[in-house]
Structures are given as structure tokens and as C-alpha cells.
């Protein structure tokens, strides 16, 4: 029986395992050094905040794996011997495979800052990071202030986490406005306000110079490069992005015979079929790097959804139905303190030449939508919606059918996904668009028929 070994028990690896099991009777082993069972990494924050216990982050009960004949092995893979198809573990254990899927995810970036490995300095990615945070920042007596370095999704989540324990937070963001490499300025400004209104000491346009240690080798302060200001703190969170967690592959490569090493760049290099240069070795999820980016996507996509999609795809290939990874239309989501964010299609931070934008913001300053469309053809390109929920099916269909901005606005009531009885803003949104663009778009009433046909 063919033995499929998957390194990494995150969403990518587990999705691959589940789909291989659906499609075949192969022997499957998932290897992880982090935890015994699959858990939702995105939910770690809620454990620290007291919304959930760690066990609640595990999407499957513990009996699931045995029932589905998916073997779980805890261990740290040190090297991969592709010639003999063998994994070598840090405790000198070995494991033979017939096909190998590398799904080891990411690790937090560190940019060589002085003091980046001190006690009390941590990322927020692995379960071990959560445990470290629990140790160093259990409350605002042990941790009188925390400094977060890096203004991305994990940084703002870490700020929310610490805030829930009433720990003062200084948030150092390199950009001139939060996440403005991704969000247009209006959305970014809204999130800046949200961060500040939660009492976070947000510092925009600053970089970390160094982290200073006390006499016990524990972080005691950070110094800001631009101003030289020193901020006393007990915990430093490094959240300046993530990169593929593949050091062991690179190590293996240096020991391998010529032609036997797995090609890597920033991540494990893969083709469209998620195959590496070595036969029977695949890479998926955050750690995989496409030779050529797909469409407007980045070569490495460290996103939950794309990891899952790669898992779904690679399972087909491994089970004899060789199929390329062809993700559909881009979508993503996040939550910034109390403001939910969804996006469908592309809304770049800055409009491209042929693009026109329409922005509507609610009086509360906590809801907005931002539409991106082609100024000549009026084809809809993408939407950002903050504080308002939108239907994935609707926008997926609109993008596939290359509908116009006018169509989207006309059918905005179909698109809305807010809970029942919520105040709807569609008439106001459409009126504003008409006024600004001198159009006469009329909002259609929500139609179950149309919504339903979308999902048929």
C-alpha cells in the first residue's frame, strides 16, 4: 500500500490528508512537531482572550484520525533523504514514504534586530508562541507594557489579545498608515482610528532599532530607529510578516547528492501541479512557492484559504487525477478589533491606470465599501467591505461572468450578508454612486430566485 507522508498538520496538510482518504485507501501519516492534533491557527488569539479553550480550536474530535485511518506522528523532521525516500527526525527516528507532501507552513520573520531572540520576545504563530505569551503576559501586573513590531494582520490581532488582558500596548508600524500596502488609504485610515479608539499607542512610520535586555537576558525595552525613543516593556511581539518554514529542507539540500535536493527559493519551489523538482515530493500551503505567480497572486500565499485549496488540489494529483492548482477568484477576510473585513476580487492599495474607484463610508466611521472597476469597460474588479458582510457566491459569480459595476450596484441587496433586521445601506450607497457618476442605477429588490440560482 502506498504510503503518503505529510509534514505539517495545519489546514493544508490536513485537507490533503482528508481528501486523499476520501479518494483512496492509501496509508497516510501526518507528522507534526507542534501539536498532537490539528487545530485552527487563526483561533489561537481567542484562547488567550478567554473566548475558547485550546480544545475548541480543534475542528475534529480526537477519535476522528483513527477512524479515518490517518496516522499521526509527533516529531521534528531534521532532514529529508529524497534518494531513499526517508525522513530523519531530530530524535534519530526515521520514516519511509512513497510520496511526500511538505506542508510546514510559516514562521515569523525576524530581520536581524539586536535582541530579537531575548526572553520575552516572541512571534504569534505557533502554539508555543501562545504558551510563551501566557507565561510572559498573563496580566498587566507581570506585563506592564507590550510593544508590537509590525503592522499586519497578526500584529493587530496580538494588539487585540493584549488589550483583552488590559495590558498597555505600543504598536510600531513601519508604514505611514496601518496595512496600507494592501488596504487603500480610506480603509487604512478607518482601521487606524479603530486601533486608537481601543487605547492602543499606535506609532506610524517607525522602525525598530533594537531590543534591550535586562541583567537576566530578558527584554526590558525597545528603541525606535527614527527618534531614538526608548520604550520600557516586558514583552515584544514580532509580527513583521511570515516566511516559509523550510530550514530543514534547505539543510537537507546541503547534504544531498547532486540532483537529489529539493529546490527552494524563499519557499519550496513548485510547479502548477504543486510538484517539486523531485518526483513524488509535493509542497502546499504557506511554504510552497510558485515558479511563476498565478494571475495577480503572489508566488507565496500565506493565507488559510489558499492552503486549503492546495490541499484539495494535491490530493487529486496524488490519487491519480493529475490536476493543476488553479485557484478561483481571490477572496480574503479578517477582523480588526470590532471591524470585520471581507474582500472579493482585487482592490489594490492604489488604483491602477485603467481602474476607477467608488468609496462609501457610513456616518459611524465603522462601515464602508470600496468598489474597484474598469473605467472604460465598467467591468467589476473587486470590493472591500468593512463592517458589512457580503455574499461570497454573489461576487464569485459576478467576477466569473465579468459583470459591470452597474450590475453589482443594482443587485447589491442580493449581495448583502448581514444578519436579519440589520439596517441596510444599499439605497444610500447607490444614491451616492449615482450622484458622483451621474448615472441612474436603480437598486433592485433582494431576489431569492437570483440568489438561489447563484448557488445552484
Amino acid at each position: 500500500m502506498e504510503h503518503i507522508v505529510i509534514i505539517g498538520n495545519g489546514i493544508s496538510g490536513v485537507t490533503a490528508a482528508r481528501h486523499i482518504r476520501k479518494l483512496s485507501d492509501k496509508k497516510i501519516t501526518i507528522v507534526s512537531a507542534e501539536t498532537d492534533y490539528f487545530f485552527s491557527r487563526t483561533a489561537l488569539m481567542y484562547v488567550y482572550m478567554g473566548h475558547m479553550k485550546f480544545e475548541h480550536t480543534q475542528p475534529y474530535e480526537n477519535w476522528f484520525w483513527k477512524k479515518n485511518r490517518i496516522d499521526l506522528k509527533k516529531g521534528y523532521v531534521k532532514t529529508v533523504d529524497t534518494k531513499n525516500k526517508t525522513l530523519h527526525f531530530s530524535n534519530d527516528d526515521t520514516l519511509q514514504y512513497d510520496k511526500l507532501i511538505i506542508a510546514t507552513g510559516s514562521k515569523p520573520n525576524k530581520f536581524g534586530w539586536p535582541g530579537q531572540d531575548l526572553d520575552g520576545v516572541m512571534g504569534m504563530y505557533h502554539k508555543q508562541d501562545l504558551e510563551s505569551l501566557e507565561k510572559h503576559a498573563p496580566n498587566n501586573k507581570v506585563c506592564k507594557r507590550a510593544v508590537i513590531v509590525g503592522g499586519g494582520l497578526i500584529g493587530i490581532e496580538l494588539a487585540e489579545m493584549l488589550h483583552s488582558r488590559h495590558i498597555p500596548v505600543t504598536f510600531l508600524v513601519r508604514e505611514s498608515s496601518f496595512w496600507n500596502g494592501v488596504l487603500p488609504e480610506q480603509e487604512s485610515a478607518m482601521i487606524n482610528k479603530e486601533i486608537l479608539s481601543n487605547g492602543i499607542d499606535l506609532r506610524l512610520g517607525v522602525n525598530l532599532k533594537e531590543i534591550k535586555a535586562d541583567e537576566n537576558g530578558k527584554a526590558k525595552s525597545v528603541v525606535i530607529a527614527e527618534t531614538g525613543e526608548e520604550i520600557t516593556c516586558d514583552v515584544v511581539g514580532l509580527t513583521a510578516g511570515v516566511s516559509p518554514n523550510i530550514d530543514f529542507i534547505k539543510d537537507s539540500g546541503t547534504r544531498a547528492e547532486p540532483g537529489q535536493s529539493i529546490e527552494t527559493g524563499r519557499g519550496v519551489k513548485v510547479n502548477r501541479y504543486l510538484e517539486t523538482n523531485i518526483p513524488d515530493v509535493y509542497a502546499i500551503g504557506d511554504c510552497a512557492e510558485q515558479h511563476d505567480p498565478i494571475g495577480n497572486r503572489r508566488p507565496i500565499e500565506a493565507v488559510w484559504y489558499t492552503g486549503r485549496m492546495m490541499g484539495e488540489t494535491v490530493a487529486q494529483t496524488i490519487c491519480g487525477n493529475r490536476i493543476a492548482y488553479k485557484p478561483g477568484h481571490w477572496f480574503n477576510s479578517a477582523k480588526f478589533f470590532n471591524i470585520e473585513y471581507q474582500t472579493y476580487g482585487w482592490v489594490w492599495a492604489k488604483p491602477k491606470d485603467h481602474e476607477a474607484r467608488f468609496y462609501w463610508e457610513h456616518d459611524s466611521g465603522k462601515k464602508c465599501i470600496h468598489l474597484n472597476y474598469d473605467k472604460d469597460t465598467r467591468e467589476f474588479i473587486g470590493i472591500n467591505n468593512l463592517g458589512i458582510r457580503m455574499r461570497h457566491e454573489f461576487f464569485d459569480k459576478v467576477l466569473s461572468e465579468k459583470r459591470t459595476i452597474d450590475y453589482v450596484l443594482e443587485h447589491l441587496a442580493d449581495a448583502n450578508f448581514d444578519p436579519e433586521f440589520y439596517k441596510l445601506h444599499e439605497p444610500e450607497i447607490v444614491a451616492k454612486f449615482n450622484q458622483e457618476n451621474n448615472t441612474n442605477i436603480r437598486l433592485k429588490k433582494k431576489s431569492w430566485k437570483r440568489i438561489f440560482n447563484l448557488t445552484a
Binding site: 483561533a43 481567542y46 478567554g50 473566548h51 488559510w304 490536476i323 488553479k326 438561489f452
Partner: protein, 469 residues
């Protein structure tokens, strides 16, 4: 890791209460103390006045505490520290509350004299005498234990319902639903029945809570109750006809259109208590598959039980016989159901165990009306919780906060709508979802159940290939 669920009285991440919160808390405690002391026959005079003072203190105290607790932070989900608190994580205070509630129910059902009920014409004492004035005002007779219970029950729903509304003030579904459930308890279950009782003192008793539908109201078809309605004049006949109509016509039709939520989380008294007073315990329900299996066996067994009991009592009513197949209808049918299900299951376990098993134990595992509507909801209804394409990140907030113990995530992470018999449509899964994935909706039946293997967002050909049936 599990220092959080320790038995330590103190919360390891304790957040001190401010002055206003303390004021509200102490008002509530003093109000409760007045009644507690009364239970031990330590009364402040005049009793009528102090009963009102106690009620007002508890009501206003809960509102002040609730308002101050939630208004301090911006509108949004307020689940910080839920699993750290000893009250809400089966800690010492949780167990203490559970024991007190259980004890109260035991006394209420089987030993009301210890609550002060005057036996055989004797004057009320203890807790119950405190409510004589209020009872006299409504219906010109001294209070019964059921009058006291109804008053306190309504108080709990209204005061903690207002607290709940502050907690979910950003969510209009929760606000409207809670106003309705509070109004249903206050008017339909409490004020109107008590006032009607007062206006019809010469007539025999029958249930006047119009929404307490058979089989939740298990004695509706018992001989004495049918007789009392038939002899109850126009009002009695009205309740008889409406009672049958509600069960046989109204309930299935409305459940078809909007799901059983119209009753379970909008109208019902049991549900009303669970959604308001029980809200801090909703996450304690078990999400295990084994719990779901137990649920299906139990709730349908109770349904069969009440059906058999009802057939037996109706047989007795129409034939005039006291037994069926040689078995006494009272001893072998009505009495065991009333004891085991009516009192033990719905009362003692249903509410007494809130801090251990969550707030919906009765609704999930026992209630035959919920079971009846659940079958309609599962097989013939327009209601579903829609999953928003591929947006789920499997975080588990929805499952954790489902009071009915539905593993919502198991569906959402497959891109599949949630169509489950037990869902009471409280809407909290949708509220706590950080990614906007869940929406309670009534829509066409076709396509309501949509199993998928590959989720929206991936390659269209792959989705077609894998998802075709």
C-alpha cells in the same frame, strides 16, 4: 494550560469592578438577600413593601451592572475572559449556583412547605408570604409557590434580558429577538394569565399561557384540565380551541416558514430564560458527536413518552375509564411523566444545571415540542443557516457558543449550510463569527442542504468534478 479551569475562586486574570458595577451588583445582592432571609423566616416589615423593594433592587441592580459592564467598551462581541471566570467555567461559584438552583427546584416541586407554603389552609410563611400582597392584588388570593416562581422567573428574564441587550447592542437581530422574548414572558406568560385568573376566580383552574403549547404543556389533554376548560365558559372554550389550533396548525405552518426559532428563541419561556439568564453559560453545552447521539435518542424518547401518555389520558377521558390495559392511567402514565419529565428533567436538570451543562439541556435533550418542531425544521422548512462560500477559517467560535451543542463549524468549514433539527435560531453563531460566514435565513427549500467537498474559491472545474452528485 488548564489553570483557567481550576477551582480557584479568584480569576487569574481578574478585572476589578468599578464603583457603578459594584453598586449594581450590591443592589442585586441585597434584593436577593431580602428574599433569602425571608425563606428562613427572617422578614422585614411590611412584607409587601419589602417584596417590591427586593424586586426593584434586583431589576435595577442587574440593569445598572449590565449597562456599566458592557457600555465601557465599544459595541461588539463581549466574550473576553468567559473561560477564565469561575462562574462561567464550572468553577466554585458556578457549582455553588448550580447547587442553589437545584435545591430551589427540589423544594419548589416537592417540598414547597419549606419555601413557606401554607399547608391545608394555614397561612403562608417564609418566601411565599412575601408575595401574598402581589398575589392578592392580581387575583385576590394568597400566593402559591407557582405564583412566586412565575414572578421570579419573569424578573430573571426581564432584568437579565436587558443586560443581554447591552451585551449585544450592536446586533439588531439579538435586540429585537430579546425584546420579543421578554414581552412574551411578561405579558403572555405572566401578566395576562394572572389578571385573567383574577377576573375568573369562581371558575376552575386551567392554563392561561397561550404560548405554552402541548406537548410542552404536558397536562393540556389530561381529564381534569379538559374538564376545567370545558367548564370554563367562553374563556375556557377559547383556550381549548386555541390550544389545539396552536399545536396542530399554527406551529407547523410558522415552523415551515421561519424554523422553530419563532418559538424556541423568540416566544418560549424556557427558551426565554436560557437566552437571558442562561446566556453566560451557553458555551458549556457539549459539542461531542456522542452528545448529539444521546440527544436524538433522548428527545425522541420523550416525544414518544408524551404521545403515549396523551393517548392514554384521552382514552380515559372519552371512555370515562381510569385505566388502560389494566394499568392505572394516573399511576402509570400521567404521574411518571409529570415527575420524571415535567419536574425532574425540565426543572431540576433543565435550569438547576445551567452552570454545569449549559442553558439548553431541556430544550436540546428533552422538550417534546422542540422535538416536534425539529422534525419539521429538518425535513420541511425554509430555514437554514447559510454558510458564506469558502470564508470559514475553522476558528470554532460558532461551535463553542452554540447553546444547543451543534458543531456549527463542522458544516461551515465544508461550505455547507447548517440544517439541524435542534437549532433554535438564537443567532449567536452568526454574531460571534469573526469572518462573516454565517447568516440565519429563510429561503427556498431547494438547495437548502448543500453538501460540498471542495469549497467555493477553488478551481471551478475541480469543484464541479468533486461536488457533482
Amino acid at each position: 494550560m488548564d489553570k483557567h479551569s481550576s477551582f480557584a475562586v479568584s480569576n487569574p486574570h481578574k478585572v476589578p469592578l468599578d464603583t457603578i458595577q459594584k453598586l449594581g451588583l450590591w443592589m442585586g445582592i441585597i434584593g436577593l438577600m431580602i428574599l433569602t432571609l425571608a425563606t428562613f423566616n427572617i422578614h422585614a416589615e411590611p412584607k409587601n413593601v419589602f417584596a417590591i423593594v427586593s424586586i426593584v433592587l434586583m431589576l435595577v441592580g442587574a440593569i445598572i451592572y449590565g449597562r456599566q459592564t458592557y457600555i465601557k467598551s465599544a459595541p461588539g462581541i463581549k466574550n473576553n475572559h468567559v473561560w477564565f471566570k469561575t462562574l462561567t467555567n464550572r468553577g466554585v461559584i458556578g457549582w455553588f449556583l448550580g447547587v442553589i438552583l437545584t435545591l430551589f427546584y427540589v423544594l419548589l416541586y416537592w417540598f414547597p412547605k419549606y419555601l413557606g407554603l401554607g399547608i391545608e389552609g394555614a397561612e403562608n410563611t417564609g418566601l411565599i408570604v412575601m408575595f401574598d400582597g402581589l398575589s392578592q392584588f392580581f387575583k385576590g388570593q394568597p400566593a402559591s409557590q407557582w405564583f412566586v416562581y412565575g414572578t421570579l422567573y419573569t424578573l430573571a428574564i426581564v432584568s437579565l434580558g436587558i443586560k443581554f441587550m447591552y451585551k449585544y447592542r450592536h446586533n439588531r437581530y439579538q435586540l429585537i429577538r430579546t425584546v420579543v422574548v421578554m414581552a412574551c414572558q411578561l405579558f403572555l406568560a405572566y401578566l395576562i394569565p394572572e389578571i385573567l385568573e383574577g377576573l375568573n376566580t369562581e371558575r376552575p383552574y386551567f392554563a392561561k399561557d397561550i404560548k405554552n403549547i402541548w406537548p410542552l404543556n404536558y397536562y393540556f389533554f389530561e381529564s381534569w384540565h379538559l374538564d376545567n376548560m370545558v367548564n370554563g365558559g367562553t374563556l375556557g372554550m377559547f383556550y381549548l380551541v386555541v390550544g389545539i389550533f396552536m399545536f396542530a396548525v399554527f406551529t407547523p405552518i410558522i415552523t415551515y416558514f421561519v424554523g422553530k426559532r419563532w418559538y424556541c428563541s423568540w416566544v418560549c419561556g424556557c427558551g426565554g430564560l436560557a437566552e437571558t439568564a442562561g446566556d453566560p453559560f451557553r458555551h458549556l453545552s457539549s459539542k461531542k458527536l456522542s452528545a448529539w447521539k444521546l440527544e436524538r435518542w433522548l428527545i425522541h424518547s420523550v416525544m414518544v413518552f408524551i404521545f403515549v401518555v396523551t393517548v392514554a389520558v384521552l382514552y380515559g377521558y372519552f371512555t370515562g375509564k381510569g385505566d388502560v390495559f389494566g394499568l392505572s392511567i394516573y399511576e402509570y402514565f400521567s404521574k411518571p411523566y409529570g415527575f420524571l419529565i415535567g419536574a425532574m428533567f425540565s426543572g431540576v436538570i433543565g435550569v438547576g444545571f445551567y452552570p454545569m451543562l449549559g442553558s439548553r439541556v431541556w430544550c436540546r435533550f428533552g422538550c417534546p415540542l422542540a422535538g416536534y418542531m425539529g422534525i419539521i425544521q429538518r425535513f420541511k422548512s425554509r430555514f437554514r443557516i447559510t454558510t458564506n462560500g469558502g470564508q470559514c477559517i475553522s476558528c470554532g467560535n460558532c461551535s463553542t457558543y452554540c447553546e444547543q451543542g451543534i458543531d456549527v463549524r463542522a458544516y461551515a468549514q465544508k461550505g455547507e449550510n447548517i440544517v439541524r433539527a435542534s437549532c433554535v435560531g438564537c443567532g449567536i453563531c452568526s454574531a460571534v463569527c469573526p469572518r462573516g460566514v454565517l447568516k440565519l435565513e429563510n429561503g427556498p427549500e431547494k438547495g437548502r442542504i448543500n453538501p460540498t467537498d471542495v469549497l467555493l474559491g477553488n478551481d471551478v472545474d475541480l469543484m464541479d468534478l468533486v461536488n457533482k452528485r
